[in-house]
């Protein structure tokens, strides 16, 4: 195995283009190094992008936020402006693993690992986040939900690298939230995750909303019909029940070591309802 630590995206991309063997991008490494412990794992090249120029910080722009691919989730949690604007995204990112994992893991890595249970992804999808993808053919910006295509698989080309995640500037009266269910209080993979992002009008009625679920299908599920069910409401009980019902119905989960189909369906609705309530409060809804 070869280890490289390029200084530019171009060099990183070139290393990936030129390799004949199996290559992996290393940012936080909290997924890649775990996989590497398996006797079945083979890698010829690891490209560490932590020294790549421009990937190491969070930039606030007129349009919103650009989060470099090498920014650790712990650093996200310490970014006051980002946290104020997108508390749901940040809390989702901060749920990934322990303090030790937080020091290393990144949301771009969480996205590229393409686990159906990734914690930050439903929150990012609900937030309408975009991935800035750089490769030999230039740079393209795609919705975050277009990155994972199946468990462990992404839409990225061989030499493409996510350079950053972009989040919009917040309109007034907006809030987001992410909740997950785990059996313990820490250190687990989400059995179900739910992200809700919404904006209210001046009367406190939901003007727009996005609802995304994790760990209930092969990839993150954006539940438009559930979002529609709360638009135009003030999250009255009936609206929340409808939201929960539609979220449960949108699930296509499996039975596995972490949970059952029935459990995931039911809890997806419960969490979406609770997350919506938190997002609504954060948006200033009464």
């Amino acid at each position: 195995m070869q280890y490289e630590r390029p200084g530019t995206l171009q060099d990183a991309s070139r290393l990936l283009v030129e390799t004949q063997g199996t290559a992996f991008i290393l940012a936080g490494g909290t997924d890649l190094l775990v996989r590497s412990k398996s006797d079945d794992f083979e890698a010829d090249l690891v490209v560490d992008i932590k020294s790549v120029d421009g990937l190491e910080d969070v930039r606030e722009t007129a349009a919103g936020f650009t989060i470099g691919a090498a920014v650790s989730c712990a650093e996200l949690g310490a970014h006051a402006e980002l946290k104020a604007a997108w508390p749901g995204v940040v809390e989702a990112a901060n749920l990934i693993g322990s303090a030790q994992i937080q020091s290393r893991c990144t949301i771009a890595g969480n996205l590229c690992n393409a686990s159906p249970a990734a914690d930050s992804v439903p929150a990012l999808v609900a937030a309408g986040a975009r991935a800035v993808v750089t490769g030999p053919d230039g740079t393209r910006t795609i919705p975050v939900e277009d990155v994972p295509v199946a468990p462990g698989e992404t839409s990225l080309g061989k030499a493409e690298i996510i350079a950053a995640i972009e989040l919009d500037k917040r309109p007034p009266r907006s809030g987001d939230a992410y909740l997950r269910f785990i059996p313990r209080t820490e250190m687990d993979i989400a059995v179900v995750g739910a992200g809700v992002n919404l904006t209210l009008d001046e009367a406190g009625t939901v003007k727009s909303a996005r609802v995304a679920l994790g760990a209930v299908a092969p990839t993150v599920v954006l539940v438009d019909e559930a979002a529609d069910a709360i638009v135009g409401t003030k999250l009255e009980d009936a609206a929340l029940e409808k939201l929960a019902e539609l979220c449960s119905a949108a699930c296509r989960p499996i039975d596995d070591k972490r949970g059952t189909v029935d459990f995931r369906k039911k809890v997806a609705g419960v969490l979406a309802r609770r997350a919506a309530r938190i997002a609504y409060d954060r948006a200033g809804g009464a």
Binding site: M1, Q2, Y3, R5, L26, G29, T30, L33, V34, S36, K37, V46, D48, K50, S72, A74, G97, S98, A99, Q100, I101, S103, R104, T185, E186, M187
Partner: protein, 158 residues
């Protein structure tokens, strides 16, 4: 296969080593540098027994490549005491019997140090969540939490 040459700082000392690309920082510390205080309990970042502080941040050294330590500052349990003076956390762990088998202790001490460095006066809940990445199977955590509380009190002059 030639090794990767790494220059780093460990517990304040400049250290140079050669390692293979596959080797983790934990492998390097234990097998190449003889610093066996960090333990491998799982190899997958789930138990925290290999915790070290890398550039001021707590990490599982089993999830860091040895090559990544180039130019970094690494703190391990072996550097926690200053000469023959134990760190207050070490003293309080002893006084409170916060260890039974002791194999998780170096990781807990590093995690507790990182926690108190960032938050000198944590609540019980903050301590419990701050240490959630470190598994202990002997103590039920009770005496560990009390030791950290007491150390924080002492370090804050109280």
């Amino acid at each position: 296969m030639s090794g990767i040459a790494v220059s780093t700082t460990i517990n304040g000392d400049e250290v140079e080593y050669l390692c293979q690309a596959e080797e983790t920082l934990l492998d390097v510390l234990r097998d190449r540098l003889g610093l066996t205080g960090a333990k491998e309990g799982c190899g997958t970042g789930d138990c925290g027994a290999c915790s070290v502080i890398l550039d001021g941040r707590l990490v599982c050294s089993c999830l860091v490549l040895g090559a990544e330590a180039q130019g970094a500052r690494v703190e391990t349990i072996e550097g926690m005491a200053q000469g023959d003076t134990l760190h207050p956390l070490q003293t309080k762990f002893l006084e409170h019997a916060a260890l039974q088998c002791g194999v998780c202790t170096p990781g807990f001490l590093m995690a507790a140090k990182a926690l108190l460095d960032a938050n000198p006066d944590p609540t019980e809940e903050e301590i419990r969540f701050g240490l959630a990445g470190n598994l202990c199977r002997c103590t039920g955590y009770d005496k560990i939490v009390r030791a950290v509380q007491d150390a924080a009190r002492e370090m804050n002059g109280g």
